[in-house]
């Protein structure tokens, strides 16, 4: 039989292929120019992301390589988020490439792009193995990026920590996935779902293995998402790694973990949701993890004096809110997850970008050093305040609508079906901890605005940094006030998940 390369399928994968080649080109370009071109490498990486976005828009949806590669609404939506997050991360790293990592610019930007390729690949894969490969391609460049300040103890520690935890969690995940394969006889998610539904009939015999598989996968992805009790690495890694990398970790890699989670649980293990599937009911397990995330993230964040650690705990809590949407398995659930992560991208990338810009100038990440900033650098102070208020969920910023949608999804589920009453408690915890969260977000705002003396620092923006901040501000305002187009798209994400069992 003659081997034929499936050409149509390759067109479908064109954005990934292009970005991959572009990443290699970024490496090479930096070498060819003898690392002389100061910002050209960075601009080139940003341009690559824009072109990839354009190609993504042109190629459109479809299904290729059998059923292994889907370019459905979910994939496109999340690819948009990955590209956006990478764009904003690269835009905010011009300061450090100028000052600190002069000799490795190409590697820095190239690895960022490679990690993005992994995320994009992951969000398209519809099969356990390629899902796992995508996840690895996402995280391995990030190990290097976390340790990029080679002379800085904290950064190296962050890299090692992230590497060890990442490898460990990958192993857990792989172990869990192998159980799922063993139970269902398929790595293909739709087939797995069908086979699992049949298995559901005699749950008593295989229940234990199924529970083990679910716990392992939750733990494996929980590590990647920094969901408690698997969150301990996140603050240390965020604190040590270069700030744009921490930003990318907190948005890009979190979104990637969420896609993987949604694909395995919301799609593959659909039938094991709900009280009738107990003890293999993953809904309650994840709900419990979400409660832990919201409580631990928001309470511990209050005590932080380093803004990067604070944002780390805040992003742990934000993942908890997203999980509320994830366990609300109705037409609002996945749509709310998609919208949440979209709004979260603008606010969190923006906040980290502001922190990065401040750090480039002052070298400090202490919240106290933000004192009086509104008087000397009003633009930075106002935009950081807006990002934090959006994260806290104050209307009319996008972060509010995101929380609204997540809680709405849970309450819709609970009012429709009395056996999901526990979702009310989830919403209760979510809302209460949201009030706590305001305390530490407002603390930063307090330092910036309430101080009556001028800050000793006067922050100037480089063009790409300014662009990132403006994208963030426009994003949270625009999509908070005119969210309809994105909400429509997010609703398609739900539709493409096909949450009906077959």
């Amino acid at each position: 039989m003659e081997f034929k390369l499936p050409e149509n399928d390759l067109t479908l994968m064109l954005p990934e292929i292009f970005l991959f080649i572009w990443a290699l080109w970024v490496f090479t370009f930096d070498l060819l120019t003898r690392r002389k071109k100061e910002s050209a490498v960075g601009y080139m990486a940003m341009a690559g992301l824009l072109i990839t976005g354009g190609i993504l828009a042109v190629t459109g949806g479809g299904c290729g390589f059998g059923t292994m590669f889907f370019n459905d609404a979910t994939a496109i939506f999340f690819k948009m988020i990955f590209l956006g997050a990478a764009f904003m991360a690269i835009g905010s790293s011009f300061g450090i490439t100028k000052q600190k990592i002069v000799n490795h610019r190409g590697e820095f930007f190239g690895l960022m792009l490679l990690s993005t390729v992994g995320m994009m690949f992951l969000s398209s894969s519809n099969e356990l193995l390629s899902l796992y490969i995508g996840l690895e391609l996402t995280t391995i460049p990030l190990f290097i990026l976390a340790a990029f300040f080679k002379d800085d103890k904290l950064s190296v520690e962050a890299g090692i920590k992230y590497f060890v935890i990442g490898a460990f969690s990958s192993a857990l995940l792989l172990y869990g996935l192998s159980f799922l394969y063993g139970l269902s006889g398929s790595t293909e998610l739709v087939q797995l779902k069908i086979n699992m539904a049949v298995i559901n009939l005699h749950l008593e015999q295989i229940g234990l293995i199924l529970v083990l598989a679910i716990v392992l996968v939750v733990a494996g992805i929980g590590f990647k998402l920094a969901l408690p009790p698997f969150h301990q690495w996140a603050p240390d890694v965020y604190e040590g790694s270069p700030t744009p990398v921490a930003a990318f970790l907190s948005v890009g890699s979190k979104a990637a973990g969420l896609v993987a989670f949604a694909k395995i649980f919301v799609n593959g293990l659909f039938v094991f949701y709900g009280p009738e599937a107990a003890p293999a009911d993953w809904g309650k397990l994840v709900g419990f993890v979400a409660v832990l995330a919201m409580v631990i993230g928001n309470v511990v964040a209050i005590r932080q004096s380093n803004i990067k650690r604070m944002l780390a705990y805040s992003s742990i809590a934000q993942a908890g809110y997203i999980m509320i949407g994830m366990v609300s398995m109705n037409e609002h659930g996945m749509a709310s997850v998609a919208y949440y992560i979209f709004a979260y991208m603008f606010a969190n990338m923006g906040a980290f970008a502001a922190v990065a810009i401040f750090e480039d100038k002052t070298g400090s990440c202490q919240i106290e050093s933000y004192r009086g900033l509104s008087r000397t650098s009003p633009l930075l102070a106002i935009s950081l305040a807006l990002f934090l208020l959006s994260l806290a969920g104050i209307p009319p910023l996008a972060g509010f609508l995101a929380k609204y949608k997540v809680f709405a999804a849970a309450i819709a589920m609970a009012t429709q079906n009395p056996s999901y009453n526990w979702l009310y408690w989830l919403v209760g915890v979510g809302l209460l901890t949201a009030v706590f969260s305001l305390f530490y977000y407002a603390n930063v705002i307090k330092q910036m605005f309430f101080w009556s003396e001028d800050s000793p620092y006067r922050i100037r923006f480089s063009p790409p940094a300014l662009a990132v901040i403006l994208i963030g501000v426009v994003g949270i305002l625009l999509f908070g006030i005119v969210p309809e187009p994105i909400l429509k798209f997010a609703a398609e994400v739900y539709a493409s998940f096909g949450i009906v069992p077959f």
Binding site: S374, P396, Y404, F407, A408, V435, L438, K446, F449, E484
Partner: protein, 492 residues
């Protein structure tokens, strides 16, 4: 028409932000002129509503419902009736008055006025929104400028007071959010339209009604503030700059009672019947407690702040007697009257504080001879606050007592009347210790009397206080049809 109330201040905020920050006079006058627009619009609405719309309970000047976020059934829907028109009037007037009173702010002027205009936009929005989501957005949007206004320009404990206010109110709001979502998902078809949900509320299961009612009540009670949710109020009032205290007392507190009348009461009448005794009891406790604590205050501003707790207690007691149109009308009168009187009292306390740099009652004495105009105005409003006949406070309290006596436990109403006596005690004692007695020439010899700008700011409040006190009929007529409709809804 109604949109302009919200968007003109918002546009004004952007305009103010564009002015260079050292052009202080330009910033001040731009904000005042901008705020004249919503003020005049609200006056015109009051006038026109009185003559053309007050005969029916239907919403007037309706805008929408336009679809805002169709996939979540969120609408842009504005309208006013007899209970929102007086509140709009009050908001429009007090905003301009407090902007005029803010000219003594010299630190970070631009930010101050920008935040103030944002605050005004939010307040106007709350009183005109008829969609729950929109209502919630306006309700929350106000917190941010308020947080800054207290936190940046406040007194010594400003940071504590600002975050306490923010957290307290946000804590209340989350309860409201849960109720809104429950209402939304139990209604068929799903809607956030307040008017449509008025009919849906009573058809819900009893437990859900109870949950929704209590959750809404917590959210609004914190804003009022009803005892025991009142502890943010003295802190916020005392630390806030003068003009912000005026807005807090004059408008923000009214939002709580307004929202109860607009949402809680007509939407869940069955639960209301079961709980009305306890609500009125909370009101009576607030009346007595607020008055007693007022008596013990050494600081002028704290005294006025606690008297607010007492005065808003009358509103709560009246709301407990929901069967009587008179009591509800009394509640509305009290809201308007308290807005005028307490707003003026805060302004006047600010006037003396600007000059003397202290608000301690014991530090003064015999000021009557030195600053006679100020003394006259202050005594006028003190009399109004203690409910002297001929002024609006008396009308309101009288209506509340008459209405409540028929609808509530008579012993409870009897106890609440004690509040009037206590009110007279703390007000008169304050007047005596500040304005009468020995004058300390060495200390206060250089004190100057109230100036023209400050008189202009406080004069409209004085005129309205007396006008309503002497001839309350127009205000009563304006609300009559709406209140009858509301009482009918509550009797379901």
């Amino acid at each position: 028409m109604l949109s302009s109330l919200v968007f003109v201040p918002l546009a004004g905020m952007i305009l103010v932000m564009l002015i260079p920050k050292d052009k202080i006079q330009a910033i001040r006058w731009t904000s005042v002129i901008v705020s004249l627009v919503p003020m005049l619009v609200s006056f015109w609405i009051t006038w026109d509503y009185f003559f053309n719309h007050s005969g029916t309970s239907a919403m007037a000047y309706v805008e929408g419902p336009y679809s805002w976020i169709p996939s979540l059934n969120i609408q842009y829907y504005l309208g006013v009736d007899g209970i929102s028109v007086p509140m709009l009037f009050l908001t429009g007037l007090l905003s301009t008055v407090s902007l005029l009173a803010s000219f003594n702010i010299t630190n970070r002027v631009k930010e101050y006025f920008a935040f103030f205009l944002l605050l005004e936009a939010g307040m106007m929005g709350v009183f005109v929104a008829l969609d729950f989501f929109l209502f919630y957005v306006f309700w929350e949007i106000m917190l941010v400028p308020m947080y800054f206004l207290i936190g940046v320009w406040g007194g010594p404990r400003k940071e504590y007071a600002a975050i306490k206010f923010f957290l307290y109110t946000l804590f209340g709001s989350i309860f409201m959010l849960v109720s809104i979502l429950i209402l939304y998902f139990t209604s068929e078809p799903h809607t956030l339209n307040m008017m449509a949900l008025l009919d849906h509320g009573p058809t819900m299961g009893h437990t859900l009604q109870m949950i929704c009612f209590i959750f809404f009540f917590i959210a609004f009670a914190i804003k009022v503030p009803v005892w025991p949710f009142h502890t943010w109020l003295p802190d916020a009032h005392v630390e806030a700059p003068t003009a912000v205290s005026v807005i807090l007392a004059g408008v923000l507190l009214k939002m709580g009672t307004y929202a109860m009348l607009r949402i809680n009461w007509p939407m869940f009448p069955q639960v209301l019947r079961e709980l009305s005794f306890w609500i009125a009891l909370l009101g009576v406790i607030a009346i007595i407690y607020g008055a007693l604590v007022s008596m013990a205050q050494k600081d002028l501003k704290k005294l006025v702040a606690y008297s607010s707790v007492s005065h808003m207690g009358y509103c709560m007691m009246a709301l407990g007697a929901f069967t009587s149109v008179g009591a509800i009308a009394g509640c509305m009168f009290q809201m308007v009257s308290h807005g005028l009187i307490t707003g003026a009292l805060f302004l006047l306390v600010g006037v003396i504080y600007d000059r003397a740099h202290t608000r301690e009652i014991a530090a003064f004495g015999g000021l009557g001879a030195k600053i006679p105009v100020y003394t006259g105005i202050m005594v006028l409003f003190s009399m109004a606050a203690l409910g002297l006949p001929g002024m609006s406070g008396f009308v309101a309290e009288f209506m509340i007592f008459v209405g409540a006596f028929s609808g509530l436990n008579k012993i409870m109403v009897g106890i609440s009347v004690l509040g009037v006596v206590l009110g007279a005690t703390y007000m008169l004692r304050m007047v005596q210790r500040v304005f009468l007695g020995e004058f300390n020439m060495a200390k206060w010899g250089g004190l100057t009397d109230i100036n023209a700008r400050e008189i202009i700011a406080v004069a409209p409040l004085a005129v309205l206080t007396i006008a309503i006190g002497v001839y309350p009929k127009p205000l009563a007529d304006l609300m009559q049809a709406t209140l009858e409709h509301l009482v009918n809804l509550m009797a379901r």
